[in-house]
């Protein structure tokens, strides 16, 4: 640890710990409002169809049914980017698309009413493959999007929002190259981030144009600022509940939100819409499909001379954030691959499977997982050690890159070579790495392989955070920041930072509920921005309040404010803690002091981590067992040790590392149905399958943050999938390129069962 702090860097119990372990923490489905109704959704059995008739009269006649909505009477609100997805439409575009909504006095009654809605469909041909969808004769999903191409002319991050990377001259770059990697790889097993808690929203109209929503989310204000323009500009008060995991997906629960709000408007009562697990699998956010066809040129020494290709991104029926994910993904690729010549272009395509949403990795994981196998082909030809390659090519201070807004930034972060070296040592990479397509060890039918991946993100300082910090005369402190708790402990870490600035017991620091009415603006808990962006806002607010406190105390202590100190609710002249006065004397019993802080975006400080994997392939059964994971990173200063450990362990969950081993959403292209939309058929890692996991966390102070810290949590899933492909390729002695590497694919590669081996 670089500096001794009172709280920073030390484990303190989560503020909500007792609530959680006693079952008192209130998640969305634990909440009831007076006169609340329950909303249910009738869903399409067809992947693509016109609704030719719909009869709701029988459902409406059931006592206890308070609202029934179809495309004929649903509000004309729209989501999707650009906005094109109606709350309910006369056409359905995926199996599970919403056809009708019902609100009733009980869940059972709402579900029963769905059976009494009679719908007739005219089925239409459907398309699922990203490249088939853009052929001229393909079925068309939206009239507004000819060729199923979703336009980019939506300035999510301003007029120059990144939609590819074009830089230098790739032809020249390829001429300079000694080795070229080429091919097409797809990260299209559309895994589910699958937080344990399904998405849910409660909506209540308090006046005709005033809506209050409670939701399970990681970014509370999105349900205000994103939804207001989509719904004809009502005033929305967004309140976050305890959130049972999100991993990006519940940043924004557009569909449950609109369904609850529409039903609540019609019924004139609060309505709760909580998806079932089946709906969570079949009608909520999946990871974007990603296919990259391209070419990478490198020199013998590992210098990258050119990257070119076409990135096909498949949203399924729609998405709200794909253009943003593409922008960030293109930015992140440049952080990982220092190169002067780029020509990467993107096609954003809609198809007839359920929609994509935000998933941890936010475009970067999707691009990396399809692009890196091509890079590795070049590395293998050059016989380069991938660790050395990534070390050489990760962005260094002074290097430039285009970030999501299309602006050029010069890196003023750090050189992460030390973290890489420490990771190499902890993993034993030099001992285990035997060269490309060579196993680390072979014993009978078992082969051991190792692989490595890196990831980094300049979103740690994205967007705006604001906060108030209020000092109360009883020495307690209240933070007002619109920050949710989806599991990363950020609310508690902010309390810790404020306790540190004000030098008061952390037990006395409370953070107000995540409610847009009572807190200033915060963009949300994403992109590892909690520490740098939110942290800096809260720290500034605490410093502002502290300054006012010392100014008010100065005349009482007959000293200048800068000569004063505060500790444990006392103010004193530096060096004279015995002659202090308490806050209540400075403030008076009926006054408080409020400080304000704001963080403005800063995209010049990328974070980083490297992930090493060791696994065992059984050549008899084809099974891949993950044995060991080592993550190395440098975070400047740890804020809360168990929180960061947990975030890094998260590499195994949330559509991360296991998307290369067994996680996949299986879509039957004959029917458009997902075949595994339940937690038995969708494979997940159990306690008995835990690999050894070791985190190497360096703390080299970074000057951009008061406590010298940079956030890293979000990126731990991203390097895993391509690292696993590398490790299995090394174990079996053959390039493996088809996510996930289930036993059938491994046995095919080994020539033990017939089939086409995809390299």
């Amino acid at each position: 640890m670089s500096q001794e702090y009172r709280y920073i860097g030390k484990p303190t119990p989560r503020k909500d710990a007792v609530q959680i372990v006693t079952g008192r923490a209130k998640y969305i489905d634990d909440m009831e409002m007076p006169r609340m109704l329950y909303g249910k959704v009738l869903r399409s059995p067809y992947p693509h169809a016109h609704i030719t008739s719909i009869d709701t009269s029988k459902a409406e006649a059931i006592p206890g049914i308070k609202a029934v909505l179809t495309h004929k009477n649903a509000p004309n609100w729209t989501t999707g980017t650009p906005r094109h997805v109606r709350v309910l439409d006369s056409r359905v575009r995926f199996v599970g698309d919403a056809v009708a909504l019902v609100a009733a006095i009980s869940r059972e009654l709402a579900a029963e009413a769905l059976d009494h809605i009679h719908v007739e469909y005219e089925q239409l041909p459907a398309v699922y493959d990203v490249e088939e969808a853009i052929r001229p004769d393909a079925p068309q999903l939206y009239e507004a999007f000819p060729g199923n191409l979703i336009p980019f002319d939506v300035p999510l991050f301003g007029p120059k929002t990144l939609r590819g990377v074009v830089l230098g001259d790739v032809e020249e770059g390829f001429e300079e190259a000694d080795f070229i990697g080429e091919g097409t790889y797809a990260y299209e097993n559309i895994p589910n981030p699958l937080p344990i808690e399904p998405p849910g929203v409660i909506a209540e109209w308090t006046e005709s144009n005033k809506l209050t929503v409670w939701s399970a989310t990681q970014s509370v204000t999105w349900h205000r600022h994103m939804m207001i323009p989509r719904m004809g500009f009502p005033d929305i008060r967004a309140i976050g509940t305890q959130c049972g995991g999100s991993f990006g997906s519940k940043n924004y629960s557009g569909q449950p939100f609109l369904y609850a709000a529409a039903l609540a408007k019609t019924a004139g009562r609060p309505v709760k819409v909580c998806f079932t697990k089946e709906e969570h699998f079949g009608a909520f956010a999946l990871r974007l499909g990603s296919r990259f066809r391209g070419k990478v040129g490198i020199k013998k020494d590992g210098t990258i001379t050119a990257v070119s290709g076409e990135w096909f991104v498949n949203t399924g029926a729609f998405s709200d954030m794909a253009q943003a994910q593409i922008a960030v993904g293109c930015g992140e690729a440049q952080l990982m691959l220092r190169c002067s010549n780029w020509d990467v272009k993107t096609k954003l395509v809609c198809t007839n499977r359920n929609p994509s949403g935000i998933v941890r990795g936010f475009g970067g994981q999707e691009l990396e997982s399809a692009l890196f196998p091509i890079l590795e082909t070049a590395m293998a030809k050059a016989a380069l050690d991938p660790v050395e390659f990534y070390k050489k090519n990760y962005v260094k201070p002074g290097d430039g890159y285009y970030w999501r807004d299309g602006e050029w930034y010069v890196c003023r972060g750090r050189d992460y070579s030390d973290a890489i070296d420490k990771g190499v040592e902890a993993f034993g990479w030099k001992r285990k790495w035997k060269g490309w397509f060579k196993p680390t060890a072979v014993k009978d039918t078992k082969r051991i392989g190792v692989g490595v991946g890196v990831h980094g993100n300049a979103d740690v300082g994205e967007d705006v955070s604001e906060a108030y910090v209020r000092l109360n005369p009883d020495n307690s402190v209240t933070i007002h920041a619109c920050v949710a708790e989806p599991g990363v402990g950020q609310r508690s870490s902010l309390c810790k930072m404020v306790a540190e600035v004000l030098q008061i017991p952390i037990e006395g620091v409370t953070i107000a509920p995540a409610d847009s009415l009572i807190n200033p603006f915060d963009f949300g808990l994403l992109g590892s921005r909690g520490t740098f962006a939110m942290g800096s806002a809260v720290i500034s607010a605490a410093e502002d309040a502290r300054n006012t406190l010392l100014e008010q105390a100065a005349p009482m202590l007959k000293a200048a404010p800068e000569d004063l100190e505060t500790e444990d609710g006392m103010v004193y002249v530096k060096g004279r803690p015995d002659a202090g006065i308490p806050w209540r004397k400075v403030l008076g019993l009926m006054r408080t002091i409020t400080g304000f802080g704001r963080f403005d975006p800063d995209y010049s400080v990328p974070n980083f981590l490297i992930l090493f994997t060791e696994l065992q392939v059984d050549t008899e059964t084809g099974k891949v067992d993950l044995l060991r994971v080592v993550i190395a990173t440098d975070v400047g200063q740890i804020i809360d040790p168990p929180s960061i450990e947990g975030q890094l362990h998260g590499a195994l969950g949330a559509a991360g590392i296991d998307t290369a081993i067994f996680e996949e959403t299986i879509l039957d292209e004959a029917s458009g149905h997902i075949l595994n939309l339940n937690m038995m058929d969708y494979k997940w890692r159990t306690f008995l399958e835990l690999p050894q996991f070791h985190n190497v966390i360096l703390e080299t102070p970074i000057e951009t943050h008061r406590y010298k810290a940079v956030g890293v949590g979000e990126i731990s899933t991203a390097p895993g999938p391509s690292a696993i492909l590398m490790a299995v390729s090394n174990a079996v002695g053959k390039k493996m390129g088809d996510y996930p590497l289930t036993p059938d694919k491994v046995l095919t590669a080994l020539g033990k069962i017939p089939g086409d081996h995809k390299t």
């Binding site: 959680i20 006693t22 489905d29 699958l194 049972g244 996991f693």
Partner: protein, 171 residues
């Protein structure tokens, strides 16, 4: 116990966290329907929302409660099967009136053995059954006991530490 009484009076009695809790079968408000799962009754009828429903299909373990000391999936158990059974939910651990936590709950706090916390009540109850009914477990036994519990945040490592620590404390 008294089957005749049940049929005549149409009530069943759950002993929830030590308290007799009679439920009347029928479709009146707060009535017990034969289709109600124990998870539904606990959460929706009795307001004990500490029991979480993740998948509602018996696959994720988050709805685990103890019935006569054994961990069961309350989303796969019909309430009418639980007449006169002793049911322990997360609300029944420790001595909440005086703010006293069960050693397992304290160990989960001390080891930061949760992130989002949604799977935590189920994991604590499954661990409780393991510690109550067996000699102090080894790591492998803890993992076996919790192998049906889904945690997407990946708090598994901290959970194993917490349970092993609580087991030592109880020795």
């Amino acid at each position: 116990m008294n089957k005749e009484r049940d049929i005549e009076s149409n009530t069943i009695n759950l002993i929830v966290n030590g308290e007799n809790t009679p439920l009347i079968v029928g479709d009146q408000v707060s009535g017990l329907l034969p289709s109600h799962t124990l998870a539904y009754t606990l959460r929706e009828t009795l307001g004990l929302t500490g029991t979480k429903v993740g998948c509602d299909h018996g696959a994720c373990g988050s709805c685990t409660v103890l019935v006569d000391g054994k961990p069961i999936l309350s989303c796969m158990t019909l309430t009418i099967e639980c007449d006169e059974r002793r049911i322990t939910t997360i609300e029944g651990l420790g001595e909440p009136e005086i703010g006293q936590l069960d050693p397992l709950q304290q160990a989960f706090i001390d080891h930061a053995a949760f992130q989002c916390g949604f799977c935590t009540p189920g994991m604590i109850l499954a661990s409780k059954a393991l510690l109550d009914n067996n000699p102090p477990p080894r790591e492998k036994q803890v993992k076996e006991a919790l192998s049906g519990h889904f945690c997407r945040c990946i708090s598994h490592y901290h959970v194993v530490d917490a349970v092993l620590k609580a087991a030592k404390r109880e020795e």
